[in-house]
Symmetry: C2
Subunit: 194 residues, 2 copies
């Protein structure tokens, strides 16, 4: 009898490959059908992984969804570094806005569910929110060292002011994010940093 984590004739798939297949399947389902589609039952079937294996790696389907969102967004959200901080932030934030628009209700659902699901919250902050903040910090610190942001600028406040503006409209005001003028937002955040 073959378990679903084996391919007949080729032996057991390496764990990393199986894990990646599960994350990939979850990412596809998440963007196509929303967070409710992410069940271990469904991912097991789509990725050819046993449910037992999924339970071993993720405490809940929400935790897998958070990781899948990070994996899918990662290549889209790179920080360019042309040396022009304003232009680079506009480029990155424009990609971020497109990802949110493409995701539809996926991101509100993920963050919304995180407020009452501790496993999802832990996975969301560990695999998405804090790593993304760290990437933004890195790019902004580099700009600060290059003299493009004031020496006493509060980098974390700049981050809150740029990305927080989107989340404010998306989650709190629930007004269309396409109305947010990215050029002006970035200009205000950089100027405000001093």
């Amino acid at each position: 009898m073959h378990s679903s984590t084996q391919r007949s004739g080729r032996g057991r798939r390496p764990a990393a490959e199986v894990r990646a297949a599960a994350v990939d399947a979850a990412g596809r389902l998440l963007f196509a059908e929303g967070i409710r589609a992410i069940t271990f039952e469904r991912i097991a079937k789509e990725a050819g992984v046993s449910k037992t294996t999924l339970y071993k790696w993720w405490p809940s389907p929400g935790a897998l969804a958070a990781e899948a969102y990070f994996a899918r967004s990662q290549p889209l959200l790179e920080f360019p570094d042309t040396g022009d901080l304003h232009a680079d932030l506009v480029t990155q934030v424009t990609s971020f806005a497109e990802l949110i628009a493409e995701g539809g209700s996926v991101i509100p659902q993920l963050i919304g569910s995180a407020q009452t699901d501790p496993d999802l919250a832990e996975a969301w902050t560990r695999t998405y929110a804090l790593p993304r903040r760290d990437l933004a910090r890195e790019r902004l610190l580099k700009a600060q060292r290059a003299g493009q942001l004031g020496a006493d600028a509060d980098i974390d406040i700049v981050i809150d002011q740029i990305w927080g503006a989107f989340y404010h409209r998306l989650l709190v005001l629930r007004t269309p994010i396409r109305d947010l003028d990215i050029e002006r937002l970035v200009t205000a955040a950089i100027r405000g940093a001093g």
Copy 2:
């Protein structure tokens, strides 16, 4: 037979009074026990209101919770007007930070649930988020007319940058909001507005 909306010997309570009693009971429960305590069963008992009446006024307990949150926060979140925009914003935002801290998980729960509960989302934006944004707009427009903000400042971006910063930490990063330096946040937002 007396219905629970009547007081014996004193006739039927005016609808506005009954409604206020329900909102008040919901506010108390919300801050004491969290959003899960807000059921029509419980509010009916606490406020001496029939469940039928509650269903007539609110499509769901979540909608009542959102209105109760606004009612409870309203007196705490007034915008002072001393003529000094920076000082007034620091005062208001400090009250807002205290309200969030006092509420514990109430605000994340409300906003989180709004992402998957359309009735709650509608009540949240209509009775809390958009009215609060309008009050902030009013105060900032007044400052702009007084020359304390640049003539071409984008008022909505200033709002996103101040209050969005809190929601970013509260909901997305899930880091303590007490770490956010309100003085610096307000300074950056005003300076950034130009």
